[in-house]
Symmetry: none
Subunit: 447 residues, 2 copies
């Protein structure tokens, strides 16, 4: 069963809002093993929406339509989809009564266009997933709103406790349309509680992913090293993704049960870890680089501090993004000026004069100074030239020195990043976290 | 000229990432008055990508393709688009040389698949917008890489200073494809600096935008206050956009000349500034909140420091993102633990015990302590509960106190943000910058 998504709304085409519904629904479908090959964004326009729905049905079994279920004239999704599928709509007495109750609860007046939301395929009733799965609406009940449309194999309504527009599932001649409201606060619970159980039952397959995340290796180099695996595997499938300062290798397997899929993923992840060694910082989709660093600090009972110049607090901010970081991180310095480097980190005047602030020597003294100033087990320091101005023949734009002092041993590495100020700083922050990770592994692993 | 967008990447279909490029490009096209009726997301699959491109060309004049330009086997956009348009690709000597230089600068080995990125329509050269508009590549130059493809009316390369994959513009038989890399850090500057001037020239109309950026007012409140303007205006058009902690009101006018458009925008911006007063921090699209703060610090010859707990360096990092910040910002503290708040900011033990670290009292002492510790003119402090754990009946999740000490006067404000840890911290960092801005205005404006 292939799934296709259609997002309806001129506000998406104008860029007023980000399509976060797209990510949510994609991730949900991926987790259920439902292949999604196309997503389309279209405006509130009858002709174009109808064409997009027809085109989607020509290549996919099930389409999820999101948005355009509201009471205004612009909201066309239900009407156009039903017409395209050849399903007739009629006012549903239950939905109309609910609308009246909802509006009177909010002390709002019901205007005639509100009742647009009460239109539904004849005979459709609410699916009551919580009580009896698809038994009620799911099997096509009859609520007394006239006989069910004989051409529509299976139509039912989805409750919307967070808004006035109910969702809708329409099946006809082997094709299915799932209609969801656009506001994420209405769409997400409706999907999770009512649509997901319906889709799981319909698909009968399980799908699992691991993400092997790598630092210090470029995307094309990483891909070259896994090309044989990518080419030889069909289940699991393997794909590489370039992220800022990282490469992610996603391993995805499908099976009849979760255990079947897990069994297929395991040897592949093991092989990737073997190939990339310490360049791998996790195989879990939800773990970030900063989480991996915090986990290592916790594991080896270390405290860490930061001494940042060009990153200006980005390394500290990424550490603090990890819940529970307070056990291992309690403070950090942003020392942007030379004066601050001297005052807080005790970087010597001679070093700054002789080598300048963007030097291996300064990075080293910053890292050592951070450990002493904060009485912590380790400190990572960053000093570099993020630009746009200040480049010299000796210090080009993008030159960054990162130091890491751990248990009396200090490592300094030179980096030459490319990109604008923002990009250089982001890459430097990632490299700093990665260097901290490697230093901990080198000095603590197996001890 | 109608524009259509195609986003290429299985990671979008799997929901690994949110399609923020979609919003960015939509907003940009809307600002140029270019109608966009369809957007499609498709995976890294030759057959489906080709079908989507053909379908897009059947209904739109210009398509923007985003993603799939990298060096890996998955990256198919350029090859498939060229084939669909009937344009032949050949290795471009200039791009190959640049790739070699780039990789050697990074001290990385060039693998054979890297050279995939050097394939381009025969005869295509880089457009040099900065030097001579579209004159060079734009008019179809020849760089000695063989004769230009006679069927391709007009093809040129787009420089990518932030990555290895160049962008590409291909025109043939009245249809145009613009190919951009997927990573936003590469795509956005390429679009703004090279594609935007090309599209402006192509559309033959001058569009000008002002963006009145507002802090401290919610989106629906802001919308309500400009509804009359939105409804009554057609040129300029007015649209509101919700951003994290900010609302942007975009005013777009079209005219035959830049001056015509400017004349239409001016009274509208004036009216918006009058309505929102000091809530407005800029009317320039390129100015960020941190830039506005740095500009004010420079204007009134003030130095600023930061004392951050839950934001963990985000405020400092945003200030440091502004080039030339060193005149007004030289250091900041990340004081995540109570111990660090006491040690570096001299917050009293009694305050932390009696009121806890998430209190107006602690925020006040942090701000004052920051000024003294760093001998600066002002300090902004942030302390709050970003969660996910730690909420109490007295201190709910999202409660943040922000302090600002300027010239002996200290202001503290309480905020109650909603969202996850990430969102709460982002909102807090924006609120901190906004409070600093308001304090400067209040104490220094007109003096």
């Amino acid at each position: 069963m292939t799934v296709e998504m259609i997002f309806v709304g001129t506000e998406l085409l104008l860029g007023n809002i980000v399509n976060t519904n797209g990510q949510f629904l994609s991730e949900q479908c991926a987790a259920m093993g439902l292949p999604v090959y196309y997503q389309t964004v279209v405006g509130d326009n009858e002709e174009r929406l109808s064409a997009v729905i027809s085109s989607a049905f020509s290549r996919s079994d099930l389409i999820i339509l999101c948005g355009g279920l509201g009471p205004t004239e612009d909201d066309l999704t239900k009407e156009v989809c039903a017409r395209t599928m050849g399903i007739e709509l009629a006012e549903n007495a239950e939905v109309r009564a609910e609308l009246d109750a909802f509006m009177s609860r909010l002390k709002m007046t019901v205007t005639e266009n509100n009742y647009k939301q009460a239109m539904a395929p004849r005979g459709a009733v609410y699916a009551d997933w919580k009580r009896d799965g698809a038994k009620n609406g799911g099997e096509g009940g009859n609520d007394g709103n006239g006989p069910a449309d004989p051409e529509a194999d299976h139509c039912f309504l989805l409750r919307n406790p967070n808004g006035t527009a109910p969702g809708l599932v329409m099946e006809r001649k082997g094709k299915t349309a799932v209609l969801l409201p656009g506001p994420p606060g209405e769409m997400k619970p409706m999907f999770l509680e009512q649509v997901k159980p319906y889709l799981v039952k319909k698909s009968g397959q399980v799908f699992l992913s691991a993400v092997v995340k790598i630092c210090g290796v470029g995307e094309s180099a990483a891909e070259t090293r896994v090309l044989d695996l990518v080419d030889s595997q069909t289940n699991p499938t393997i794909a590489t993704y370039a992220k800022t300062g990282e490469v992610h290798i996603r391993v995805t397997a499908s099976g009849k049960t979760k255990e079947d899929a897990q069994k297929l993923i395991k040897p592949c992840v093991k092989e990737l870890k073997k190939r990339f060694g310490d360049d791998v910082y996790t195989a879990k989709p939800e773990v970030s680089l900063e989480m991996a660093v915090v986990k290592l600090l916790n594991k080896y009972d270390l405290t860490m501090t930061t001494a940042e110049s060009c990153t200006g607090g980005m390394v500290a901010a990424r550490l603090v993004s990890v819940p529970g970081v307070s056990d291992v991180f309690s403070e950090g310095f942003v020392t942007y000026s030379n004066k601050a480097k001297r005052k807080f980190l005790d970087v010597s005047k001679t070093t700054l004069k002789k080598y300048t602030a963007v030097s291996a020597e300064a990075a080293k003294e910053m890292a050592i100074g951070g450990v002493f100033a904060n009485d912590s087990d380790m400190c990572v320091s960053v000093t570099g030239l993020a630009g746009p101005d200040g480049a010299t023949p000796e210090v080009p734009l993008g030159r960054v020195y990162i130091g890491c002092c751990l248990k009396g041993k200090t490592v300094v590495k030179e980096y030459n990043f490319t990109g604008n100020r923002e990009k250089i700083r982001e890459l430097a922050a990632s490299a700093a976290l990665d260097l901290a990770r490697r230093c901990i592994l080198e000095q603590c692993k197996g001890k």
